[in-house]
């Protein structure tokens, strides 16, 4: 069944002087074609049901792209609430990785019970923010979140993050951790699984694993993407994207590279393992802090994630949990109620990051030649730190 959802197969070959790498992805990158010919409203309901792991980001991108294509501008409060739902989903996805996957690299069991409590708080917060119920549908008119219930659920998430991950409130962690040395001090003085993992990465000398030269995806405009997503090469582009002929990375690391403590770590370690793990912790703390402050300023201006590209075409760029999520839609009539989808393309961050010559390929190729068990653990942790949204398998020969 994992194959139905797509899978990434990574083969590592221990050669005398280097690691040979082959990455094969079987992800359904053309699945969005099924929406061609369907109505706008039906698509907005069906699309997040199909792409359900990042359903909030997918729904936000779909609604925003459709609105831009139809020349609609949603109220500021709707744009902001949608962004809050996307950020909340990112918090949940990061906690999934940190609580269920990171302990494996400490030979500890996944923290199922803690993640179960995270899911319960996440669902309560999502429900209290998703008002009106059609918030994530094109044409949503007015935001009416339950602010007091949202604040209570955010407190629950912050408490879980403190107990299971950060050892302190997210806002305190952000203030305290400014440099790589601060991060090491925190890891040595905090008794949570993520802190222990940071200690182990330091102790084993794994901090610089996977360092390579792949650059971050620059800040793209919809007009930059339009020719790539609409021409005859669009299918290939969304399956194996390149920017200016080169593979690029879009991830929590590239988003947070200019923020403490990632900036300090990247100065000496580049895009290696430790700055990646730190970026995920930073984003976890930072987004929770941002969500709290946004509850009180729903009507303050915020940029729309979508842009119209002429009549009937819209492109949305949404910062999803694993990187930039891009939707392009073309609609052949002018209203939500009778518009029909004439083209739909989705470009997910995993396609950039797990490109056959991309950052995971180059990072794995940079691992030292060592025994098979150590290599498997280093590769597994590096791939987990980049974070695919599907199952992956590493084989070593």
């Amino acid at each position: 069944m994992a194959d139905l959802t797509g899978r990434i197969d990574i083969e590592l070959r221990r050669l005398p002087d280097r690691i040979g790498v082959t990455i094969q992805a079987s992800r359904p990158t053309a699945a969005s074609r099924l929406f061609i010919g369907k109505g706008v409203e039906e698509t907005a309901v069906s699309l997040p049901a199909l792409f359900s792991i990042c359903a909030g980001a997918q729904a936000c991108a779909c609604a925003s792209a459709c609105e831009a294509a139809l020349g609609l501008t949603p109220p500021t409060s709707i744009i902001r609430l949608r962004r809050m739902l996307v950020d909340l989903e990112t918090v949940k996805e990061h906690l999934w990785r940190i609580l269920l996957d990171w302990p494996r690299f400490l030979d500890e069991p996944p923290l199922d019970e803690a993640m179960s409590r995270v899911m319960a708080a996440y669902l309560r917060l999502r429900k209290s923010l998703t008002r009106p119920a059609d918030l994530l549908r094109p044409g949503a008119a007015a935001a009416e979140p339950d602010l007091s219930a949202s604040a209570v659920a955010l407190d629950e998430l912050a408490q879980l993050s403190e107990q299971q991950v950060l050892g302190t409130q997210p806002s305190d962690w952000l203030t305290r951790i400014q440099t790589g040395d601060d991060l090491l001090d925190w890891a040595q003085s905090t008794d949570t699984a993520p802190a222990r993992l940071m200690q182990r990465v330091h102790a084993q000398g794994w901090t610089s694993l996977g360092r390579c030269q792949v650059s971050g995806l620059p800040c793209l405009l919809a007009t930059d993407l339009e020719p790539l997503l609409s021409g005859t090469g669009a299918e290939r582009f969304v399956a194996e994207p390149l920017w200016r002929g080169e593979p690029r990375e879009t991830s929590p690391f590239t988003r947070r590279r200019q923020r403490a403590p990632v900036t300090d770590l990247a100065r000496t370690l580049g895009n290696a393992l430790l700055p990646r793990l730190a970026a995920q912790l930073l984003e976890l703390a930072s987004l929770q802090s941002d969500l709290r402050s946004q509850l009180g300023r729903l009507d303050e201006p915020i940029a729309s994630p979508a842009q119209s590209l002429g009549e009937g075409v819209g492109i949305a760029l949404v910062p999803a949990a694993r990187g930039l999520l891009i939707h392009r839609v073309a609609i052949d009539r002018g209203r939500i109620t009778d518009g029909r989808i004439s083209d739909y393309r989705i470009l997910a961050p995993t396609e950039w990051n797990f490109h056959p010559r991309g950052v995971v390929f180059q990072g794995l190729a940079a691992l030292p030649v060592t025994d098979a068990d150590t290599l498997a653990r280093q590769a597994g942790l590096f791939v987990t730190a980049v974070d695919p949204c599907v199952d992956y398998h590493v084989t070593i020969s």
Binding site: M1, R33, L50, Q58, D112, E113, I346, D391
Partner: protein, 78 residues
């Protein structure tokens, strides 16, 4: 794009908090640690070894229909 698949619970092992789920005759074990009150016959959304949440039969049917329409089916499993 990140798909999760709806699957029907055919058996539950309460000792391990795990379930056997079935889709198109393919069975596999998933953890029930993240969902509450799951019962045999319920549909759950499955992702990397975990049941994420319960779905109504109508929601499951709609999603399975979309998955089939997208050209993805159990026959694709090597």
């Amino acid at each position: 794009m990140c798909l999760a698949i709806p699957a029907r619970i055919t058996a539950i092992d309460e000792l391990t908090d795990a379930a056997t789920v079935s889709l198109d005759g393919i069975s596999r074990q998933v953890s029930l640690a993240l969902v509450e009150d799951a019962r045999i016959g319920d549909y759950v959304l499955v992702h990397v070894g975990y049941a994420l949440n319960k779905l109504s039969p109508e929601e499951a049917e709609q999603t399975l229909r979309l998955i089939a329409e997208a050209g993805l089916s159990a026959e694709d499993v090597p």
